[in-house]
Amino acid sequence: MADLEVPNELRREAKEHDMYLHPIDRDTYELFFGPQHMATENFSIILKMDGNRIEKAIVNPGFLHRGFEKLAEGRPYFTNIALLLRICVPESDVPENIYSMAVDEIVGWEVPERAIWIRTTVLEMARVSAWMFWIMGFGNEIGLYTPGQWAAAYRERFMRLYEELTGGRVYHIYTVPGGVRRDIPGDRWLRQLRDTVEYVKGKMKDFDEILFDNYITFERTEGVGVMDKRFALKHAVTGPNLRATGVPYDVRKDDPYYLYDQLDFEVPVLKEGDSLARVLIRRYELEQDLYILEQLLDMGPPSGPYMVQDARLKALPRFKPPKGDAYAHVESTKGDFGAYVVSDGSHKPYRVHVRGPSQSHGVTVLEELLKGARLADVPVILKTLDNCPPDIDR
């Protein structure tokens, strides 16, 4: 029960003016949080409130269900790229890559080195731009609007690089089974990428001052939405949320794909498991990602083809992989993103099933963490878990 009492004069006045007075002091009531609320991003939570405290939260997804998995069963393998990447909006390269990796495994293709370098770089660029998107969302939720505007501007630099590389800004439709669709535009693009990475790296100090080392961030996030290691593992929480509870699990280290076993980077781990730990983990990972991009640029793209050489690729719509199935996963900023693809030998996939990280930390975990939280902490918990509704709905 909240300590707040509504004065009797205010009650009387409200009644006279036929106003609805928020029953903040004694009644329990139901509150529909979202889908219009900015923090929830297209899904809603039904909150059973007791004063200012949440008694029970029921997650209500489905506003973004577009039936991608069903549609993918009716389309040829290469067409599905343009469909499945919409499962993760802020980093659309992740669904492209998991699907392509799974199909590569079914067919048994050895993807050329140049394509692997490009894919790794694109994934890391996606991670950095998704961090920028997250800083924007998180800053806005706790009332720090300036870092969000900066982050949006820095994300724009990456989107321009994407536009030059792939032709698309948000949805790139770039990684396809067997390689990538186009080659790097030239050395100028690589120089621009290096400049951008250095520029964002130089701005980390500003982010620290205004957001990560800010009194407001600490006050709002410390001790809010705490989960422990055992709970996180039982609920299959992955990514930064899991690493904030003390488990050093990162797909890039534990199930290395592409060039990650040749790259030198650290997996930051904190053990507190509260919102502050989740914020700080993301800040350290952003730094590591910039460092990885620098390494990749130092390495330079290997020469060679950017697409696998296969006669079957001449008739793309009728391309038929052999029978089989494969599961591929990558580390996205939200966690472990996986895809299970089943082929029955025809030109369309028999089944595509995507494992979105928000399926675990966006439904049961969110409901548990919201129990007993204050209403003002809902956006903080939502944003520090980095919940992404499109991958729950799909």
């Binding site: 489905g62 069903k70 039982k234 599961y327 299970y340 089944r351 099933h353 049961t364 729950i392």
Partner: protein, 189 residues
Amino acid sequence: MDMNEKNVEEKVEESRPELPDTREGRLVKALIEKAPYAEGSVRRERRVEFRVSVERIHEFLELASETFEMLMQISVVDWIKEGEFELVYQLWSVSESVHAFVRTRIPRENAKLPTVMDVWPVAETYEREAHEFFGIIFEGNPRLGPFILEEREYKKHPLRKDFNMLGHVKAIYGEDFDRYDESKTNYVI
């Protein structure tokens, strides 16, 4: 009769391929020794596979959860020609860095399974999804019902292979959904 029994025994032995002497092979071997009713194999580095009958799936998953801490997904595949659903429990072991597929098959009619919510609480979400898209009933899961879909779509189980997508769209949107091309002969979707 004796001959037949011998044949069956031989077949069982033949169907168990030799496990390689790798980290994955030893892991599968240790688990198979505890659960002799399951079939196990190594697919490649960091990918192992188990086949379990539906009667003992809960027992097996409970045993496997000691090594495989996380349940990443429950994927359902509708093999309509065989009249079966295949459930693939995607497990990940944080300590061993191995991904496991645990496969089981159930008939399509009155598909029923025990829930694994008591082993991994996150299974609640996966089972709700599998229930509404395929109509599989997970006994013991209290929240089966409309989750992602609307009420009117929920009973149709749209990810089943015999779901008529075009018919469903026409039934809902009626004449408004007129997607014929200019010659009015071909339907465009």
